[in-house]
Amino acid sequence: MTTHRPTQDTSEPAGDDKLAGLLAKLDAAITLLTDSLDFAKPGKLPRVLDTARRVLLQEGGAAAVEARARALEEAGVFLGSDWETPQYLVPSLTTHALKSADPHTVVIEALSELRLLAVAKGEYLHPLVSAEQAHHYLTQVMALNLWLLFGAPSEAERETQGRLAQIPRHLFHHLAERIGYEHIIDKLIEEIWRILQQRPIQVEPVKQMVTQIAICQANPAIDLGTSGQGADRLVSSLFGPTQACREDPGVDVYRGRLSSMDSAALQGEATGFARAMHDTGLVSAYHPVLLRHLLDHGDHLLAEALGLSSTGRDCLLCYRELVHALIRGGVHPATPQAAYGLALMLERGILYQPPVAPAMWRQLGLSLSEWSQQRLNLTFGDAISPRARLLEGVLCMLGQPLGVGQGNNPTCQSARALSMWAYNDPDYLLQMVAWAARDDEIIMHFEGMPLSSMASLSGVAQTLPMDLDPVSLIVVPHLDRIYAEMGRRCIGREGDPHRWVNPEFHGWWSGRGFRINVDVATGQLQDLDTFLRHFYASYHPYYNGNQPLIHPQPAGIAVTDSAARFIGWHAITVLRVSLDPNDVMRAYFFNPNNDSGQDWGDGIKVSTAGKGERFGESSLPFEQFASRLYIFHYDPLERGELAQITQEELDRVTGYVHRSWGADRIPPMGLQADAGQEPNGN
C-alpha cells in the first residue's frame, strides 16, 4: 500500500541535518499524498507544497526535489492544474508565477521546473513530454527569467514575497548549473530580438535583459562558450553605439568629448546613433546628449542623428521650432526613448494635420495636476520632471501607436483605444492626455449623455495599474472607468454591449453595424456561416470589391492557448487585410497584449515579423484570423452581399473554430452536421 521510495542522497550535502530532517518530512508528506484517494488529495497537497517550500529554501534543496520529481508528480502534486499537462506550459507565464506572493504558486512552479529538469536530463521518462521538449522549455524559462539568475531580490519582490523570493533564485542557480549558461544566453538574445521587432513603447524589461547579458559577458566566472555572439548589437545600442562612447564612459565625459568635435566627427556620431536606434528600437542614454548638443549645430545634423528619411526631414524643417522645443523639453538622458518616438512621429507626417502641432505646444507647456505628478514620479522615479516623462510618453505613443501595451491589467479596451487614437486621430489623443493629466477628469459622451471619469465608480481593473507607459499610466484609469460605465449603461439590453460601447468609446469611424457569432445568453455559437460570410464580405479584398480597410476597426477575438483551449475574450484592432510577400491573404491587426507573438493552438501562430508586418502589427492568414474572431463592426450602409466563399474554405474556418474555443459551444444542430469531422493537427 505504502510506496516507499529510496531517497537518493547522492546529490545532497552530507551532514546537513536540517535538510535531512526536512526531507524526511517531505517524503512522509509525499507518501500521504500518494496513498490518499483522489477526492482527498487536495486536502493533503498543502502539506507537500509547504514542506517542499521549506526544502527549496535550503542549500541543495532544489537537487533533492529534483531527485523526487517523479514521486511528486506520481503522488498527484500537479493533478487538476495546468501543470498536469507540461506539454502545454507557456514559458512566459513562469515569470508571473515565480513572482507570486502566494507560496503555493511559487512552489508548484518550482516543482514543475525541477520535474522538467529531471525529464530533460533523461532521469525521468515522462509520458507527455520528451527530453528535448523539456530542455527547450527550460531554456526559454531561464532566458525569460534571467533576472532571477543574476539579480538580488528587488524591493518589490521583498515586499510581496519576503523569504519566498529566495526560492526562484535557488531554483535558477540549480537549473543553470544543470543546463549550462550557454544555452540560456542564445535563447535570450533570440527572444529579445523577437520582442524588439514588435517595437514596444515600454522597453525597460528588454533593457534589463540586455543589461543582464552585458553583465554575464563581463563576468569571467561565467563561461559562455561560443554563445552570446549575437548580443553585440543589443549591448552596444544601449551602452556604446558610437566611436566616442564605445567604452561606456558616462554621460558627462561624453558631453565633454562632443564639445571638441568637428562637424565630420559629429556626422559620424549622428549616423552611428541613428543606425543603432533604428536597428533595435532601443536608444542609448548618450543619444539625447548628442541631440541636445546638435540643437546649436544645424538641422542637417539633427535630421541625421534622428535617422530621418526625406519625409521626416521635411517635417522637421517645417516645424523646426516645435521639434527643437520637443527635444529640449522631452529628450533627456533619462528619457532616451523620446528620441525614437520623435523620429517616428516626424516620419508619420502627422504634424501636417492642422491641430497636431498646436496641441503639441499645449503639451509642452501643460501643467500637471498633483495627482498626475505623483503617479509619474511613483512609477518612473524622479530623475526627470514628470512633465518631461509624460512628453516622452506622448512622443513614443504618437511615433509608435502600435507599441502600446496593456501591462498586466485587464484593460485591453483602453489600451486599444489609445493606440487607435494615436494611429488615426492624434489630436484627439493629445486632448485626452491634456484633460487627464491637467484636470484629472475626462468626459466622454454615451448616446448623448456625458459620462465623467470622476463620477464613474469603478473600472474593469480592480487596482490602479502601474506597469504602463507614461501616457497610459495617466489616461487609462479614466478610460477604464468610462468604459465600465458605458457597459453599465447597457445593462438590461439584449445582446452584447460592445455593439453600442465600441463606437461610442473608440470613435465615429467604428462601424455602427455589429456582428457577433456567440449567443450571449447561452454562450453557444450562433449563425457561424453567415457571420463568416459577412466578415469576408466586409473585410476580405477578394469579396469586398478590393476595398482596402479605411479606418482601424475594433474587433473581438476568442483567445486560445497553445492547446487551442479557450482563455478569454480579448479586444484587438483590425488594421488592414492584404497579401503578404508569399501571396497569402493576411489580416494585420493590433493586439494590446504586451507580447503579440502568441501560439493560439491548432497550428495557429500569430506572426509579428517576416510576413509583411509593420512594427507592432500581428498577423494571421485570413482564414485563421476569422476562426478566432467573434465580434466585428461594419458600416451598415456599405453592407454588400454575403460573400460567396467556397464551402471548402468555410469548412476550414469552421473546423478551426470547432477544434478550439468553439468545441463546447456547438449548438445541437451543428454537432450533427459535423459529427464526421476528425480533428487534425495537434
Binding site: 536540517k18 484517494l37 477526492f39 482527498a40 486536502g43 498543502p46 509547504d50 502566494d102 523569504r163
Partner: protein
C-alpha cells in the same frame, strides 16, 4: 478498500472529508448522510451518499431513519455536535433501543448533562442557567460571595457557554458586571459556570460493550489555543483516577458504545471536576494528532466501536497500548491574528526552522481588518508540531502565543 459484507454497514452523519477518506479505506460499508450541496461532489467521486438537511428534529425525522434502515444500515455515527441527537434518534430505531434518543438529548444540553453527572456522583463546579443579563450579574455576585471575596477584591471569573454548541463556540469569560453588557441578547439562554482554577484537559475514550477500549488524555497548554497528545508524564500520572472518572461517566450516562470526548479540571489538590462531555469527534484535529503518534485512524476506530457486529477480539487487536505505543508527542496550535489590521500571512522563521514544526493549515487573510474577537472566537488555522519531549512541546506551544503569524 474491499468491504466485508459480514461486518456492519455504517452511516456517517455530517460532511467530513477526513471521515470519508477513513471510511473509504476501511473494511466496513458506509454511506455519507449530508446536505444536498454535497451530492454532486459525491457522485463525481463515487462516494455513497444520502441527501439530508439536518435542521431541527421534526416529524420528518423518522424518514431518514427509515431510509437508512431499508438500506440495511446498522448504525449511525455523529461527526458534529449538531448531528448528535440525529444519531440518537436514528440509532434508537436502527438498534431498536429508544433510550438512545434520550441519551443523546442529555449529551446535547450542557445544563442537563451537568445535572445527570452530578446525580451520578461526579463533581462539577457551581452552575446555573441564565435567561437574561440580570441572571448573569446575580450569579457572578453569588459565586464571588461564596468565595468570601470582599468588595474591591478582583472577582473570580465565571464562564458562559451556549447549551448546545461545540467546544469554544459562544464561550465567554465574564469578570465584572460591566462585561455583561457586551453579551448580545440573542445568545441567551446560556449556561453559567464558576471558574475552576486548575489544569484543564480532555479525554477521548472509545467505548465498546460499556468498557473503555482506548483512553487518550489530551493536554491543553492554553484552552482554545493549543493541545498535544499523549499528555505529559505529569498529567499521565493521574491516569488511574481519570480512568475511574470515565467509568463513572459511562455508568451515569449509560453509554454502551461509541466515542466520548469529555473535559475535566484537575485542581491543585488532585480533585477532578467534570466540565462537559461530547458524543462526537473532538475539534482541534486531535484525531490527526493521534494518528501522527499512534498510527491508527481515529475515525476508523469510531466506526469499529459503533458497529454492533464488531467482536471484542477485533477491538482489542485494533487499539495500541496507551502512551507506551506512541512514538513521540504531537501538538497543534490555533492561530489567531494578534493585530487589528493584517495584510499577509507570514510564518515566523523561528517556527519554520524549529525541528518540531511539521506543517500548517494557515491561509492568507481574506480581509485586512480583523474582526474583534467576541467570546473565544474561531482560530484562523492550525499549525502542527511533533517531537520527542513533552516539556519542550509544551514550552513551544506556549511560546507560539507570543508570535505574529498575520502581519
Amino acid at each position: 478498500m474491499k468491504k466485508d459484507p459480514n461486518k456492519g454497514y455504517i452511516a456517517l452523519l455530517g460532511w467530513s472529508l477526513n471521515a470519508i477518506e477513513a471510511a473509504e479505506n476501511f473494511d466496513r460499508r458506509y454511506v455519507v448522510v449530508a446536505p444536498d450541496w454535497a451530492e454532486e461532489y459525491c457522485q463525481k467521486h463515487d462516494i455513497p451518499h444520502v441527501s439530508w438537511n439536518f435542521e431541527r428534529l421534526n416529524d420528518r425525522s423518522l424518514e431518514i431513519a427509515e431510509t437508512l434502515k431499508e438500506m440495511g444500515v446498522d448504525v449511525a455515527i455523529p461527526l458534529f455536535e449538531e448531528t448528535v441527537e440525529w444519531a440518537g434518534a436514528i440509532n434508537s430505531l436502527l438498534l431498536d433501543s429508544p433510550r438512545l434518543y434520550g441519551q443523546s438529548l442529555l449529551l446535547r444540553d450542557k445544563a442537563l448533562m451537568k445535572r445527570r453527572a452530578q446525580l451520578g456522583g461526579i463533581r462539577v463546579g457551581i452552575f446555573e442557567e441564565a435567561h437574561d443579563k440580570a441572571d448573569v450579574i446575580r450569579f457572578l455576585k453569588r459565586v464571588n460571595q461564596t468565595l468570601l471575596k470582599l468588595d474591591g477584591d478582583p472577582n473570580d471569573p465565571i464562564h458562559l457557554k451556549a447549551f448546545d454548541k461545540a467546544g469554544c463556540l459562544g464561550h465567554r469569560v465574564i469578570r465584572t458586571p460591566d462585561e455583561v453588557d457586551t453579551i448580545p441578547d440573542e445568545e441567551f439562554p446560556v449556561l453559567m459556570e464558576s471558574h475552576l482554577d486548575g489544569w484543564e484537559f480532555a479525554v477521548e475514550a472509545w467505548i465498546h460493550n460499556g468498557k473503555i477500549a482506548f483512553l487518550n488524555i489530551s493536554e491543553y497548554v492554553t484552552l482554545g489555543y493549543s493541545v498535544f497528545v499523549p499528555a505529559s508524564p505529569e498529567l499521565e500520572k493521574y491516569r488511574p483516577q481519570i480512568t475511574a472518572q470515565i467509568e463513572k461517566l459511562i455508568k451515569a450516562f449509560d453509554i454502551e458504545f461509541g466515542l466520548i470526548h469529555p473535559e475535566y479540571f484537575v485542581t491543585s489538590d488532585g480533585e477532578m471536576y467534570f466540565g462537559e462531555v461530547a458524543y462526537r469527534p473532538p475539534g482541534f484535529k486531535v484525531f490527526e494528532l493521534l494518528e501522527r503518534v499512534y498510527g491508527f485512524n481515529a475515525y476508523q476506530a469510531s466506526m469499529l466501536v459503533f458497529d454492533p457486529k464488531t467482536t471484542p477480539e477485533e477491538v482489542s487487536a485494533y487499539f495500541p497500548k496507551e502512551v507506551v505505543d506512541a512514538d513521540g508527542y504531537a501538538g497543534c496550535f490555533g492561530v489567531y491574528p494578534r493585530r487589528r489590521v493584517v495584510s499577509k500571512l507570514e510564518i515566523p522563521e523561528e517556527v519554520e526552522d524549529d525541528p518540531y514544526f511539521e506543517s500548517h493549515e494557515l491561509t492568507p487573510p481574506l480581509e485586512e481588518t480583523v474582526t474583534k474577537r467576541t467570546a473565544f472566537g474561531t482560530h484562523w488555522g492550525l499549525i502542527y508540531f511533533k517531537g520527542d519531549e513533552a516539556a519542550r512541546m509544551k514550552e513551544l506551544l506556549k511560546h507560539m502565543e507570543e508570535l505574529d503569524f498575520y502581519v
